[in-house]
């Protein structure tokens, strides 16, 4: 039963990651992404997925999706119906699932974050319904496979397990909210294992939307640069297999890292703009630290939301300054959006995996193209590849509608 729960909340469980899968414009898989992030590689290029000739911006971080999906239980017919988002999600899920060594089971919760599911199919449906109103060919399939629950069901069927499925659509914080919620299910003893993550593919509607807001940069984005001029969109997916420490140890599973805390808050200032003092960002960071039992001085690295829009980065800088106090001066911060762009609903999940990579490899992801750092940043922005001893990393995600989320990770040693 979802309610009342079968056991009392005990808040005693430690939550660890036993599998992580990732696909971004840097490539498919942990190793190629870790190498790319560590080197600060840039994955931006001209958009080829749709016509951007009449947009102000013409670049994004597109994925070269492998032609064949990884082996799963899905039939070939089923696989042919999957579009970009579902395929990316399956790539990430397969990597995480394999690494974890999990077996199919009856009641394995899935918690995913996305902003738009398979919007490319939604667009196709709209285009045909508007442009060729007498034709219904392919329309039922487009509807069925556009919906976000379909992609989650595909994951369940691909690996032979049965949900429940919860999908959080909190704009650009969706991925972090999903992982945070999964963490909470485990911490409070309501599940032993949860498959979680985030995904979003590039599509014209979203691209044109950010372009209409004049939020897109015509050149690759430069988070925290004093002369930054907007964000660059990307696409991707990341999936984590989370479980209680007791479960992982009982299985003898390899542990990738630990999630210590999660905080969430709502910025009520404006639908698309953060409060300039960063109150809600600060609240999310404080909440995550409180539940994690971590002080700012114990955090060794911040993976910032860092979209490179003038307002986001200014607000986030203020929030980090306020949260860290004097510690800010020696607290390295960077945004991997400098490498792979803004992945929207996938951002928080991909950035979570990047934090785990950094903690495992003891390095920091740099922003190679960074010019002059915004003087609002009291903290050092990582601009060159750097090895560093880090034990605790914090990741911020802030979304449209004021959805703010913070996750805290610890190195597993």
């Amino acid at each position: 039963m979802l309610f009342p729960p079968s056991n009392q909340f005990d808040f005693a469980n430690r939550v660890v990651v036993t599998g992580a899968g990732i696909i971004t414009a840097l490539g498919a898989g942990w190793d190629i992404n870790a190498a790319g992030f560590r080197a600060g590689k840039s994955a931006f290029r001209p958009v080829t997925l749709f016509d951007v000739s009449r947009q102000r911006t013409k670049i994004a971080a597109e994925i070269d999706l492998p032609e064949n999906l990884p082996p799963t239980l899905l039939s070939e017919k089923h696989q042919r119906r999957l579009d970009r988002s579902a395929r990316m999600l399956l790539f990430a899920a397969r990597e995480a699932w394999t690494q974890s060594g999990w077996q199919p089971e009856e009641n394995l919760p899935v918690v995913l974050g996305t902003t738009s599911g398979e919007m490319s199919l939604g667009q196709d449906y709209l285009r045909q319904a508007i442009g060729a109103p007498g034709s219904f060919k392919g329309q039922p399939t487009r509807i069925a496979y556009y919906q976000v629950q379909r992609q989650a069901l595909d994951v369940c069927e691909a690996f032979g397990f049965q949900g429940p499925i919860l999908i959080i659509a909190n704009a650009c914080a969706s991925g972090s909210n999903a992982i945070g919620h999964a963490w909470e299910l485990l911490r409070t003893g309501r599940a032993e294992k949860v498959l979680t993550g985030g995904y979003d593919a590039l599509c014209h509607l979203t691209f044109a939307g950010f372009d209409s807001l004049q939020a897109l940069a015509p050149t690759p984005c430069r988070p925290f640069d004093a002369e930054r001029n907007g964000l660059t969109l990307g696409e991707g997916a990341a999936v984590l297999t989370l479980e209680t420490l007791a479960s992982a140890q009982q299985r003898g599973a390899e542990i990738v890292g630990e999630i210590l805390g999660y905080g969430a808050s709502t910025d009520v200032h404006h639908l698309t703009q953060p409060h300039p003092e960063g109150d809600a960002a600060l609240a999310a960071m404080n909440a995550a630290c409180t539940v994690a039992g971590v002080t700012p001085e114990q955090v060794d690295y911040i993976n910032a939301h860092g979209t490179a829009t003038p307002q986001n980065d200014a607000t986030e800088a203020v929030a980090i300054n306020r949260w860290a106090g004097e510690h800010a001066r020696k607290l390295p911060v960077s945004s991997i959006k400098a490498s792979i762009g803004h992945l929207l609903g996938a951002a928080g999940a991909v950035e979570a995996v990047t934090c785990l990579m950094a903690l495992r490899g003891q390095w920091l992801p740099p922003e190679i193209a960074l010019g002059k750092v915004d003087p609002a940043c009291r903290f050092p922005v990582v601009r060159e590849p750097m090895d560093k001893k880090i034990d605790v990393a914090l990741s911020n995600s802030f979304g449209f509608g004021g959805a703010n989320a913070t996750l805290i990770f610890r190195r597993w040693a």
Binding site: L126, P133, F136, P140, H181, A208, S212, L271
Partner: protein, 333 residues
């Protein structure tokens, strides 16, 4: 075990604005009149049941956030305000930490369609005012902004049963002390593009829209208690809709002659031996996915608070994701 109580209900539906209009329509038991909705490029109009225009423009629409908000956001805020009642003041003053959960399957499709039409015409001039309203969590964001509620706020997307998952999530937030109260809304809006899509899958269905809301707290000073939410049984190749529905049913009490069943229509067969009264909001109001599930829960709570039934089961077999049920009982303190 943490007990959870229903402290308010709200509804906007084709029957009108407010729970009394919903209750009256369901008591009458007659399907509401159907309206025609033109489908561009198509001679035959679509059949829908729309939310009627309110007799007076709701005052809350003067809020800067809501002036250009779409129907889904407007209905969501109205249902939330009705459910919260006097606690609106406590939320605004910061005395009460409010968690907000908005559940939907389709989302704000009118603005999404309009924006994409603009993109197809001329992407360089597509409206920056419309795009933010297309995002799934726009309605939830407007609720928090209107109330000044800075606590946790989720938008859940899925089929009809997502509303019941939202109730379970709210119960967890309350038990975890993430909030002092939680409002959960199920909302959908009418647009020709959705009505047309529904027709492809359910040719005889009449699409409708609106919102339903429940306000939950741990405070026992309430007439209705949330007694149970079943597991969510998803539909897969191995677990058919029928099997999932049967498993959901097996987790709820079989009922008695004085109890109420609020079902979703498609699941009527599995409850053929239900001994008590039944309500099927969908047959009166139309197909509104997550909003329909919310109306089922609102109706169950209303019947209990009006002493019409001591307990009610809610059965939801969703469009394409899950079967899930809930049970509400009179709070005998």
């Amino acid at each position: 075990m943490s007990r959870i109580f229903v402290h308010g209900i709200g509804a906007v539906s084709p029957a009108g604005w407010g729970v009394p209009a919903l209750s009256e329509a369901l008591k009458n038991g007659e399907p509401l009149p159907v309206q025609n909705l033109p489908r561009p490029g198509w001679e035959k109009p679509l059949c829908i049941r729309a939310v009627p225009v309110p007799s007076a423009r709701p005052a809350f629409l003067a809020h800067p956030r809501l002036r250009r908000a779409g129907a889904m956001a407007q209905h969501t805020v109205a249902a939330v305000l009705e459910a919260l009642g006097d606690d609106v003041v406590r939320v605004r003053s910061g005395e009460l930490r409010l968690g907000v959960i908005v559940c939907t399957m389709v989302g704000g499709m009118t603005y999404t369609r309009r924006f994409y039409e603009e993109v197809l015409r001329e992407p360089a001039t597509a409206s920056p005012l419309i795009f933010p309203e297309t995002v799934f969590n726009a309605a939830a964001s407007h609720v928090s902004a209107f109330l000044g509620a800075k606590e946790i706020n989720y938008t859940l997307v899925g089929d009809d049963g997502t509303f019941l998952q939202g109730l379970a999530l709210a119960a967890a937030w309350l038990a975890n002390d993430r909030a002092d109260g939680c409002v959960i809304v199920g909302a959908e809006e009418v647009d020709w593009i959705v009505a047309d899509a529904v027709r492809l899958f359910q040719p005889r269905a009449v699409y409708s829209g609106g919102a339903g809301a429940l306000y939950l707290k741990m405070d026992a000073d309430s007439e209705v208690e949330l007694a149970a939410i079943t597991d969510s049984f998803i539909f897969t190749k191995e677990q058919t809709r029928a099997k999932a529905a049967a498993r959901m049913k097996s987790q709820l009490p079989a009922g008695s002659t004085n109890e109420l069943l609020c079902d979703g229509g498609a699941d009527s067969m599995i409850w053929s031996n239900w001994p008590g009264r039944r309500l099927t909001p969908k047959t009166i109001l139309g197909e509104a996915f997550v909003a329909t599930a919310a109306w089922q829960c609102v109706s169950a709570c209303q019947a209990i608070s009006q002493n019409e039934s001591p307990a009610a089961n809610v059965s939801v077999v969703g469009a394409n994701q899950q079967a899930i049920g809930a049970r509400f009982v009179a709070n005998n303190l």
